[in-house]
């Protein structure tokens, strides 16, 4: 070896593989404004569609007259439900087994519901024409409060379901009832509560909010009437599923539909489902033969496409006096709005809410969820979380704090006492999950030591005394959260979307010169897949990540996959990538053996090639092997070097983390200042620590927003309030706290590279940490539970009610 030969370490570093803080390759175009988003697309003859929307939350639509709009020059057509009935598309199926109006069919069920679709030569004319469409409404009584949905005299929202006592998820027992979903052992749970030494009960609400990606939902649909092919560019987190659904609904064969998701400016669950805008744009292009673009504005996005949460969770925990928990009983009232359009795997009407036992060893538990209709927008998507996991984590983490207070125990100590122990993994929870791996005690101890938990508690005590003496108007809260996520949906045995199993896929093709094109069934909306997927491949097959191109989102070229949401991409697509790469490496080994004239069993893998065992000087790099694969393959082996893998995960993955928030609250204004926020995440094997850190920062910022004020509110008339960024809280850099991140590593035992997924952990763990900090601050004044969101006026109101204003 001469001095120029790179060392093993240098060769490893050159790969920029797993564990490398590789800079995001997509940021080169994003930071220069060179991304390619749906709204950047301009096609010849492209028309623009826009909606006439209902000003009322609940009303009969008695007349729609578009004649004046049609007289406006530049208006091409106005679609109503009557027109859509001709193609059987006035209603569409939802992911949750319900049906949803595409355009108002005789009535509207929420404010801003789509009533008519105006198609015009440009957006200005479309907007002018909207003002000219005359719609007569007959107002109906409005149902806003989910707790009144099942009153005997509650207004009937869904006449289309009259007489249907059986819904997609079992019996319906009221005209506004959607489903009841129960899991766990009711009898054992009731017995545990009857025998409990201590118990708590609290109604914990998780308010309605919205994923609010900066890029709203949009699409361009273009029908080629000669070839009969439909192309739809859209903001789709799951482009393949959109194509399958479009084919089923339109009866256009799947191979004649091309669905393309270009760059996406954030999704957070908002872009999983199908919306009336997509259907109308597709129908419009079929009708007109011209491409049709539909782009939501901000108000439309916030008020109509996919809210999140709106779960009202009556939470009970039974325990022994020493703090050992014995049972959990939760009832959820779930407000689904006018249609059940939750984006959950089809058999899971309440998502994975049954992860509600959290990180604790509950011997028994019972969960019951009732979904109801109200006059609000449909949705219920997983906003930066796996399906209903944020709600579950909030429920149990608030519940544990309330129990700690009742017992007079420190909330961190109570958690430590009840954690599932490392030797219990794989752990079977009382509500049916098999947790793959975890070491909760180590993570919690590391977090407590790093943040100086005990001294913070001492400081808090001193400050409480000072407050009581009138020396300060500030109180201090310490929010503790230990969450367990369930991500990676999911195993085909229990996860599908409209019958499509929730596998994912990867295809990797090594070119003769040793560079790579790879395509996946996942779809990045900002997660950095182009960077991280290349890193997995780099480590697995020894080709530098810089030489690997990653492409997603085009259903013609990418293998079929279920898309990106619920932190499923690393657990599912990430596994498919590793397995496809290993197929390539296996073939490469045969080729290397032929090249080196040894048996393949005499070879060992070394960073970026194969070497002869005991004679590392005798080696072939992947670059050399790639050339040979095409041009000098072994006899009886077909040329080429590519592989495809479809991965049906054997289990979910269970990331976890310990989060601590230290907060100072001005009781006179209700303004809360975040002094410290520490987030320890265990997402198993870490592919790119810098991207993980970025994901945690983003997720914590969203969690901060949700806990501290972000909300979709309605008044009693069903008017949606604050559907603009003036009122809907999106923190800027000024409001965003400083984040301290940390980690432990407990690999997933069933995942090929041991990775678990991380993008949504910070939202799942962040919200309870913030809320627990607010609640912890007020505990010494006698408070048990203060509902979110904790914006300044609500905190002030709590302070006032607790007598803090003297």
């Amino acid at each position: 070896m001469n001095d120029m030969t790179p060392t093993r370490e240098q060769r490893e570093a050159a790969l920029e593989g797993m564990g490398c803080k590789r800079k995001r390759v997509e940021d080169i175009r994003f930071t220069q404004g060179k991304g390619n988003y749906v709204d950047d697309l301009k096609l010849n003859g492209m028309l623009f569609g826009d909606f006439v929307r209902s000003p009322y939350a609940h009303a009969k639509v008695t007349r729609i007259d578009a004649s004046k709009a049609l007289e406006l020059p530049g208006v091409v057509a106005v679609l109503t439900a009557e027109d859509l009935k001709g193609v059987n598309l006035a209603w569409m199926p939802t992911l949750a087994g319900d049906v949803q109006m595409v355009l108002a069919d005789g009535k509207v069920l929420y404010q801003n519901q789509e009533v008519a679709f105006v198609i015009a030569e440009n957006r200005y004319i479309a907007d002018d024409a909207i003002q000219l469409v005359e719609v007569d409404y007959e107002e109906l009584p409005v149902l806003v409060d989910p707790f009144k949905a099942m009153d005997a005299d509650a207004p009937v929202l869904r006449e289309d379901l009259a007489g249907k006592t059986e819904g997609a998820h079992g019996p319906r027992n009221h005209h506004n009832h959607i489903f009841n979903w129960s899991v766990g052992d009711r009898e054992e749970t009731d017995r545990a509560f009857a025998e409990a030494e201590v118990s708590i009960k609290e109604m914990i609400s998780y308010h309605r909010t919205h994923p609010s990606p900066l890029e709203t939902c949009q699409c361009v649909a273009s029908m080629d009437k000669v070839s009969g092919e439909l192309t739809v560019w859209g903001t789709f987190q799951a482009p393949h599923v959109i194509r399958t659904v479009a084919s089923l609904l339109s009866t256009i064969p799947e191979h004649k539909i091309h669905v393309i998701a270009p760059d996406i400016g954030g999704g957070f669950g908002n872009k999983v489902g199908a919306y009336p805008g997509y259907i109308c744009a597709i129908v419009a292009t079929i009708v007109t033969g011209q491409p049709v673009k539909w782009v939501e504005d901000r108000m439309e996005n916030l008020s109509t496409t996919s809210f999140a949460r709106d779960y009202h969770m009556t939470t009970e925990i039974a325990a022994k006096k020493d703090g050992t928990v014995t049972s959990l009983r939760v009832h959820v009232l779930a407000d689904h709005g006018g249609f059940d359009a939750c984006a959950d795997p089809s058999k899971w009407p309440a998502g994975f809410m049954n992860i509600v036992t959290g990180s604790y060893d509950f011997p028994t538990a019972h969960l019951s969820v009732d979904g109801v209709y109200t006059n609000k927008a449909p949705g219920g998507v997983a906003y930066r979380c796996s399906f209903r996991v944020t709600e579950a984590a909030y429920c149990i983490e608030r519940g544990m704090d309330i129990l700690a207070k009742k017992l007079g125990m420190d909330p961190a100590d109570l958690r430590m006492k009840n954690f599932i122990r490392p030797e219990q993994f794989p752990y079977h929870s009382a509500l049916g999950w098999e947790y793959d791996s975890g070491d909760y005690h180590t993570a919690m101890q590391k977090a407590m030591d790093t943040i100086g938990y005990r001294s913070l508690r001492e400081e808090q005590k001193a400050r409480q005394e000072a407050f009581k003496r009138g020396e300060t108007r500030e109180i201090m809260g310490i929010g503790v959260c230990f969450f367990t996520e369930i991500v990676g949906a999911g195993p085909s045995k229990n996860c599908d979307i409209l019958g499509v199993a929730m596998f994912d896929s990867a295809e990797i093709r090594v070119h003769p010169t040793g560079s790579v094109i790879s395509r996946m069934g996942s779809k990045s909306q900002g997660q950095g897949h182009e960077t991280t997927w290349a890193q997995i491949i780099a480590t697995e097959i020894g080709i530098p990540a810089a030489d690997i191109m990653v492409e997603e989102g085009n259903t013609d070229t990418a293998p079929y996959g279920l898309g990106t949401y619920g932190s499923r991409s690393t657990p599912v697509a990430g596994a498919a990538i590793a397995l496809a790469a290993r197929k390539i490496r296996n073939k490469a080994q045969m080729i290397a053996a032929h090249m080196l004239e040894v048996s393949e069993y005499d070879l060992e893998w070394d960073v970026d090639g194969f070497q002869v065992k005991g004679n590392p000087g005798l080696r072939k790099s992947m670059k050399e092997i790639a050339w040979a694969a095409y041009n000098a393959p072994p006899p009886n082996l077909e040329p080429g070097l590519e592989a495809v893998s479809y991965y049906d995960p054997p289990n979910m993955t269970y990331p976890f983390g310990a989060y601590f928030c230290v907060m100072d609250i001005d009781v006179d204004t209700g303004v809360a200042k975040i002094r410290r926020f520490y987030a320890l995440d265990d997402c198993g094997t870490r592919i790119n620590p810098m991207i993980i850190e970025g994901q945690v920062h983003g997720g914590l910022t969203e969690a901060f927003a949700i806990a501290m004020g972000q909300e979709i509110r309605y008044d009693e008339m069903g008017n949606v309030l604050g559907a603009s960024f003036m009122d809907f809280f999106i923190p800027t850099a000024v409001e965003t706290p400083h984040w301290e991140t940390d980690h432990t590593v407990t690999p997933s035992p069933h995942h090929p590279i041991g990775a678990k997924g991380v993008g949504e952990s910070p939202n799942v763990g962040g919200v309870p940490a913030f809320s627990n900090a607010v609640n912890d601050a007020f505990g010494f004044l006698g408070s048990t539970h203060i509902q979110m969101p904790h914006d300044a006026w609500r905190i002030w109101k709590a302070a006032k009610e607790l007598g803090a204003h003297g």
């Binding site: 907007d127 002018d128 003036m726 002030w796």
Partner: protein
């Protein structure tokens, strides 16, 4: 062409997207003199609106809550710009931006509360466009400058086709978006009497986030002699249909040593004149109380700053 203006031009040369703004149709005018602007205003009456920084009007046009048929952009009128020292008072052209207010050494020396307030308006990008004249003339109770101008006892110079006149800021505001300005008039400048040297000042603003209007805000100008307040002026932002001059509260404070009991009485007097709307910032009760807290804090800070 400088490098930055070249880059700006290059950006604007990119094809505009249809959804950048969706106002109704309007005719755009860009006069170069006050006389020209007034002539356009006179010939179109209610159908014309002057455009200053545009940060209130353009969002309303995008939502079609405002649909002027003629938009008169005042940014080409050189006479409406600039900050002049006129001895006992400072005169600020209506089209002077908030950024220019912040950058002015003259204001920093004589009227530092203007810089303090300007820095609490929105964010730097908006302050490059937003103007003092637009902020005071639009009659939006959420704007910060109207209360400040009342606190400072400023006068608005108005020009109309009937000639020029002066309107005191304290007499200007009638209701939300209704002012003493006639439809054919423009605010051309704002004259502000310079407070005594060594005066104390504070603008306290509670807001939910950067860019938000005040939940409540209070402007205080105060002079002191030793531990006694010798003069005081207080005005409130966004806790009523108009900016509110809290004269009773100011009178209570004047002559006092700003002891706790006096401050409590002044705060109560200020709270008593508020009539805020309930909105996403909080219920009326909260916003009233926050006006009191802002007065309390502004008084304390102004007192501390005042030279005795």
């Amino acid at each position: 062409m400088t490098r930055s203006s070249f880059e700006a031009a290059a950006r604007w040369d990119r094809p505009r997207e249809e959804n950048d703004v969706i106002p109704g149709e309007f005719i755009y005018h860009r006069p170069s003199s006050v006389a020209e602007a007034l002539a356009i205003l006179a010939s179109h009456g209610d159908e014309a609106r002057p455009l200053a920084g545009g940060h209130s009007l353009i969002p309303m046009m995008k939502l079609r809550m405002a649909a002027p048929e003629h938009l008169i952009d005042l940014s080409g009128v050189a006479d409406l710009k600039g900050i002049r020292d006129e001895g006992g008072s400072v005169v600020i052209g209506a089209m002077t931006t908030q950024h220019e207010l912040i950058a002015s050494e003259l204001l920093a020396a004589k009227l530092p509360i203007i810089r303090e307030t300007s820095l609490l308006i929105a964010d730097p990008q908006i302050r490059y466009m937003g103007t003092l004249g637009g902020n005071v003339a639009n009659g939006d109770p959420g704007n910060d400058m109207p209360a400040l101008m009342q606190c400072l006892n400023a006068t608005y110079l108005a020009a109309g086709n009937g000639g020029e006149r002066e309107i005191a800021a304290r007499d200007f505001y009638e209701a939300a978006y209704f002012t003493a300005l006639a439809p054919d008039e423009l605010v051309t400048a704002i004259r502000i009497p310079v407070p005594a040297a060594g005066h104390g000042f504070a603008y306290e603003k509670l807001k939910r986030k950067v860019g938000d209007y005040a939940t409540a805000a209070a402007a205080v100008i105060l002079t002191r002699d030793g531990s006694t307040v010798t003069g005081c002026s207080i005005a409130l932002t966004n806790v009523g249909d108009t900016p509110l001059l809290a004269s009773e509260a100011a009178e209570i404070v004047t002559g006092s040593g700003l002891d706790a009991a006096t401050v409590d009485r002044a705060v109560a007097a200020a709270e008593a004149i508020t009539n805020p709307a309930a909105d996403g910032r909080g219920p009326a009760e909260y916003r009233t109380k926050m006006a009191g807290v802002m007065v309390h804090r502004a008084l304390a800070r102004a007192f501390e700053r005042a030279g005795s």
